[in-house]
Chain length 341, copies 2
């Protein structure tokens, strides 16, 4: 039976994660949950972000259900690098999965774009590129200071994420895959990505392919997001593109994500894209939709395809049934979705 580590985290993280867990319990009775207290409160109390002993325990789980971490009391970057990115790297979560869909009942800021018209998945590389932390600083705080950041890319790392993206595209209706990079300027990493993409494409003759520079893709995400089916790109470009994709599908309210180790050698992390939102924490008014959709990605990853589909359909139905003007209660949303299953 699935063993799930729950890192509810800070702020509204705890509130929305409770609903995601409730929904998993409803659809997968017998799933086991272990709670881990990590995040800003833990850091402020202990001075540690992720003790090795806890990480070793997390490693024994099938997946990690994460809420949100962060609080103004913690210096920016500390928890992101020490927890989120550390898990991605140490657990080799090389597929960062971010679906963006304009759901019925939600509104795009784009004029005339209707629910159902946007439906894409961005497959972002998760453990290479500019996120590796390579580089340095010389003559800090003097006029002679220089600072470097190095993007490291391997054929091994690019090939496996590109192949994963092709396989996902192959399973979808439109079977279209767009690769995004900046090959005209970043010729070295771009060349590696382009050649690898072309090589892997030969294994998937049914998938149509396209290449776009990151600047053009960022523009098309706004002018014509309907054109995308699956997108594969590097770590930093994926960070940016997925936020634009979230914006055009109405913001991060429905944005789910998974940091996935496809081989399941290590646990994968599933979390809503939104943050801990300290301003509305504790009021029971945070929308748990993105957290529950992240639970659906978790179920999918663990092979519970039918359950995953039922959960995302139940969320979609709940969101579509909302009446404007009625204020949302976090627990009620979770209850309604769980009851529908």
């Amino acid at each position: 039976m699935a063993r799930i580590a729950v890192v509810a985290g800070d702020g509204i993280g705890t509130e929305v994660t409770a609903q995601a867990r409730k929904v998993i319990e409803a659809v997968l009775p017998g799933a086991e949950f272990d709670d881990y207290d990590l995040g800003a409160r833990f850091y402020n109390r202990t001075g540690e972000v992720l003790p090795q002993a806890i990480q070793d325990e997390l490693a024994l789980h099938d997946a990690i259900l994460l809420g949100a971490i962060g609080d103004p009391s913690v210096p920016p970057g500390v928890l992101e690098r020490g927890l989120l990115l550390k898990l991605r790297f140490d657990f080799d979560q090389y597929v960062n999965l971010r679906p963006s869909k304009l759901w019925p009942g939600t509104t795009s800021p784009l004029a005339g774009v209707k629910p159902g018209e946007i439906d894409m998945v961005v497959v972002r590389e998760g453990v290479e590129g500019l996120y590796v932390g390579a580089g340095g600083v010389l003559h800090k705080d003097t006029p002679a200071e220089i600072a470097t950041e190095e993007s490291l890319n391997t054929r091994h790392g690019v090939e496996r994420v590109v192949r994963d993206a092709f396989a996902r595209a192959q399973r979808r209706e439109r079977r279209h895959l767009t690769m995004v990079h900046k090959t005209n300027v970043l010729t070295k990493a771009g060349g590696l990505w382009a050649r690898t993409f072309a090589a892997v494409a030969a294994e998937f003759p049914e998938v149509t392919t396209e290449y776009q520079h990151i600047d053009a893709a960022s523009m098309f995400m706004v002018s014509n997001p309907q054109r995308y089916d699956v997108v594969v790109t590097d770590n930093l470009f994926g960070d940016i593109l997925t936020d634009i994709a979230a914006a055009v599908t109405g913001g991060i309210g429905m944005a789910a994500s998974g940091s996935v180790n496809p081989e399941r050698k290590f646990p994968s992390t599933f979390e809503p894209v939104h943050g801990s939102a300290p301003d509305i924490a504790g009021q029971g008014i945070a929308d748990p939709a993105a957290a529950i959709l992240s639970a659906s990605l978790l179920l999918e990853h663990l092979g519970h395809h039918d359950e995953a589909r039922r959960v995302s359909e139940a969320v979609a139905a709940e969101v579509a049934s909302r009446t404007t003007g009625t204020s949302l209660r976090t627990a009620e949303v979770g209850d309604r979705v769980a009851a529908a299953l």
Copy 2:
């Protein structure tokens, strides 16, 4: 008197540049123009992108008026790197200037956003960061291949562009400057940018400041572009952000740009953001608005403030007067703008 080198380039580049030149002639009688044949046609004929002798001649001008370069017959990247980027680097064009305005008569793809509501300038660093071409490839085309890209950043380079952005913000009505980076992940370059930004801010007490991560900024560009006044950011982030800014202000039809050496030690290049559009080239139907607005930036840079303002107002009036359904003729737009001056 102003000596302007004209690099009309390929496709619609030649058509729109003729109008931009016509407008400069109308507003600045006596300006001298020298034509340089560069771009895809030149490259296909000679095998060279930018001969040193031509570059030496370009260097003797006050500014370069560029149309658009590129054609499917030339491998991607060759002209971009050999001409556009080479000029930026060799002529130390460290301020890459990109205003984005939602003009009367144009339509944003964003629902409910009205002309006048978006009015920002992105000051993109032009000669550092990931654009320097540092990095390498090992074991190319083998399973062991690695490829690196290195972002190089100096206090010297960051400080001068940040100061330029502050000075621009200071001259504008809202006096607000947003710095965009990814300090939580790119801690080395991000730290340099953040510390430099804070130091220069002390010289401009009247300018209010804000910091955003590139992913958040990309989202806000869609959900709330009205919030931006002046934005300063690094080379690659600026490439991406300015294309989103162009998208939300109705596409690249009105997107002008300048690659500027503020000290005027070297000539600055002014060009529309759009490309050579081979599909509509030669038909006389390309919109020269962005090219003429780039000429306005050129005039501004050369100290002809009044002329610059008159040109951009004339373009705005021409665009606002367009009636939907009427097909546009490139030369007529230029004639109307020139006549209004």
